[in-house]
Structures are given as C-alpha cells and as structure tokens.
C-alpha cells in the first residue's frame, strides 16, 4: 500500500513546538472521540478567517462534509492532541458541530448501530 496522498511532512514540525499553535494549552475544553465527526457551520469558513490560520484550515476542511477528529488532524498535519484543542474551541465558538460517536449505553441503541454497520459492510 502506498503511503497515500498526504503531502511531505510539514517542516514546521521541527521548528515549532507542537502545542505552540494552542498557546501551550494541552487539554481540550471538551473531550472529542477520535472517530467523532464534525461539520462546519454555514458561516464557519467566513468567520474562521479571523480566528487564525489553523482554525481557518479546519473550517475549510469540514465545510463540504463531515470529517472525523482523526481526519482533521491528518489532513491538517497536526498532532491529534493539538487538533483536538483547536476543534474543541471551534465547537464552543459555534464554528463546528460535533456529531455523536457510537452509543456506549443501552442495549437497543447499541444493537441498532451494530445492525446498521453490519448491513453497510455486507453492501460493500
């Protein structure tokens, strides 16, 4: 398998400390599962122009359709923890909508999801 369409490693990785873009914050203001998807709000791209380069990139990425926390980190070439701090801020600021990860409680909720995933896999 080829390594994929990712661009060469961002040279900033060796020049800027990973958490510099979050001004040193390492804890997101809310927990976001790695697989939870986010969608940009209607005016997110426009509003994020003034929210800094990294938030703007995230808004642009999530504008056409849902992207997971993992995809945002990968496409923006940021460490997961850094991307999570920014994304959590953007959810609070109303720029992104956080959608739900798989239900962890409730027999029927969990079974419904498993059935939907199973049927989706069989259709592949």
């Amino acid at each position: 398998m080829s390594p994929g369409p990712q661009q060469p490693k961002d040279p900033r990785g060796s020049l800027v400390r990973p958490y510099a873009v979050t001004r040193g914050r390492t804890e997101p203001i809310r927990d976001i599962p790695i697989e939870a998807v986010l969608v940009a709000s209607q005016s997110a791209v426009q509003e994020a122009r003034f929210a800094g380069h990294d938030k703007y990139r995230i808004a642009v990425l999530c504008e056409p359709g849902a992207q997971s926390m993992a995809e945002i980190a990968a496409y923006c070439r940021m460490p997961l923890g850094v991307a999570r701090v920014l994304v959590a801020d953007m959810v609070t600021e109303g720029l992104l909508t956080l959608h739900s990860a798989a239900p962890k409680e409730g027999f029927s909720e969990r079974m419904d999801l498993l059935e939907r995933v199973l049927s989706g896999l069989r259709k592949l």
């Binding site: 990973p18 209607q42 993992a70 969990r110 498993l114 995933v117 069989r122």
Partner: protein, 206 residues
Amino acid sequence: MDFASSERAGARPKEITSAKIVVAGGFGVGKTTLVGAVSEIEPLTTEAVMTSAGEGIDDASTVPGKETTTVAMDFGRITMADDLVLYLFGTPGQTRFWFMWDELIRGAVGAAVLVDTRRISDAFAPLDYFENRHLPYLVALNCFDGAPRYEPTEVREALAIPPHVPLIMCDARQRDSVKQVLVCVVEHAMATLVAEQGRGYPAPVG
C-alpha cells in the same frame, strides 16, 4: 454529501453517527494493508505527540531539551450512509504505547487482531491486551504468500486463544476477505452484546 443545503432550508442537519473498528497486531503484520483494502480513502496517518509523563503538568514548550515521542496510527473510512460513517483504526505497532490503544478502543464496536503465521510470537502482546479489556475481538490469520499454513486449531493452541474468541483466515490485500473479517467482528460484537444482556451484565465501556 451536501449537509449545507439542509441547513439553508432551515431544517435541522441530520445527526451523523460514527463507529470504529480497531485493527491490532504486531509491527508489519499488514494492518494498514487491511485498512486500505476496504477504505474509501487512502489510509491516513494521525500522529499523537507524547511529552512523557509531564504532559499537561509541565509546559514542554519552555524546556528546550524535552524529549517528545510521536505515535502514529493509520486509519481508513467507509461512508455507509449520509448519517453513518465507519472508521477503521490500526493500532500503533509498538506495544509500549498502550495508553494510545486505550484511547483507540474506547467506544469501538470491536477489534480484529491480525496475526502473521511467520511471526506468531508477535501476536502475544496484542492478544494479552484484549484478553484484559471488555471489547469483543477476534483473531484473523493473515495468509501471506509462502507463509507457513497452520490449521486454525494449531494456531489457537499455540496462542492460547480462548474458545469464545473467533479465529478466521484472511488475506489482508483482498477486499472481499477483509470485508468478511469486518462482518465477523460485528457479528461477534452482536453475539457478545446479546449474551451480556441475557446475563444482565453492565454495558462495556471499552
């Protein structure tokens, strides 16, 4: 998928649920190949930067000589419906990054432990890990070209795989074979959930 149009129409955007299946196994066993065989995107890599035990306590950016370690995880995506996405996450190959595995399995549907029959001992650490976690998992033997072929019963015995854990053969390069592995993971998760419900066990949290 155009979610914006429903927003413009004033309707509440549909809630999108995402699920994940974890693909574990030793280094070089074919996890990324397996993910790539069914993913709609080329497998992506997400990195987590670890600043040893001090993360969140001391500020790494102020300590010039601070050691950092990067843990890489490969993943793929299958969009099943406009409101359902399945992600496949490969665990980091190095087993010392257990804490990253803990995050990966949290909320997962289930896991497949991929085993290379040429280096069977590499599977001990991942199998130990899942034996002590409350997550449905199965073992998939990746049949490489020229790899020694063992009977599933021999492998089960060699790796001391418990009887309730399914063991299947696969070819991580073949889409249909990988699809079958994932179908088995979900079926096993459903059977486990039904059995737990019958026994009145609390819901697993992964």
